[in-house]
Amino acid sequence: MRVIPSLLLFALLPAAGCVFARQDVNEPLSATLIEQLQPGSTTARQVVELLGGPNQVVQLGRRTAYLYEASSTKNAAFFTFLLNLGNQDTRQDRLWVFFDEANKLSHYGATYGTHRTQYAMPWEDVHEVADNDARDASRPGVAK
């Protein structure tokens, strides 16, 4: 009698399915363009000419800051009747540029992550240093 449940489960397995999906928001930021920014001399106008319109503008007292961002999400899922397994990995490229009251660039900080997204199963670690380093090496201006 114990054979029957196993046979039924085996019969249901072909009904399983899997999905891979990717969603990108905005173009990844260009590290080589961002390297052209010069704190103390680049103006807000030059930043916008170089990088386009920002995603967000924040007023910080007499200073302002612009945010440029892009994101990449990779989804992997495995479906059966009994159990669904899913993983969603999202990373961002972000650039914050800070301007003084004369609209001169005073500081900037950049993070590049969109190239590090991975299709994975939920038990996998998608933040391994070796993985990240290998992916960084293939992106111009990002490798350490």
């Binding site: 924040v58 910080l60 007292g61 007499r62 800051a65 009747f81 009994l82 900080g109 992550g113």
Partner: protein, 142 residues
């Protein structure tokens, strides 16, 4: 045997489904790098070089002359957990109930800078609580 039959019947109709999922958003800040920052010595330039770009920037301590400090906020998520979904049809209407046991609060860190953009202090923890605890009225509110 009856239990197996019921379970298989539910499975076949897709009424009850267990889920195991992971949601990963951005990468955690390196805790050693964060703890190497020295309030009063490090400034915005060195902090951005060490930690990269934050996810959010907020105004902090606006003075009467409109000069202000700022708060830089990082957060991330790497949560895995079980969930369950049950669905059925009641009087011709599809009804479903979904239970998700994955975390909903996000770990992170916040760095506060004074008006001269020197690092004043930083905190690690659940970022919503950190921001709420330090929230001050903005120039607009005043």
């Amino acid at each position: 045997m009856k239990g197996w039959a019921c379970w298989l019947a539910l499975m076949c109709t897709g009424c009850i489904t267990a889920e195991y999922s992971r949601v990963s958003v951005n990468e955690p800040i390196d805790r050693e790098v964060l703890r190497a920052l020295v309030p009063g010595q490090d400034d915005l330039t060195s902090c951005l070089a060490a930690l990269g770009a934050p996810l959010d920037v907020r105004e902090y301590q606006v003075d009467a002359d409109r000069a202000s400090g700022m708060a830089l906020i990082w957060y991330w998520s790497n949560e895995a957990g079980w969930g369950a979904k049950a669905s059925t049809v009641l009087r011709g209407v599809s009804v479903s109930l979904e239970i998700d046991w994955t975390g909903i609060d996000l770990p992170g860190c916040v760095l506060w800078f004074d008006r001269d953009l020197k690092l004043k202090f930083y905190r690690e923890g659940m970022v919503g609580q950190l921001v709420a605890a330090s929230r001050q009225p903005s120039a607009f509110d005043q």
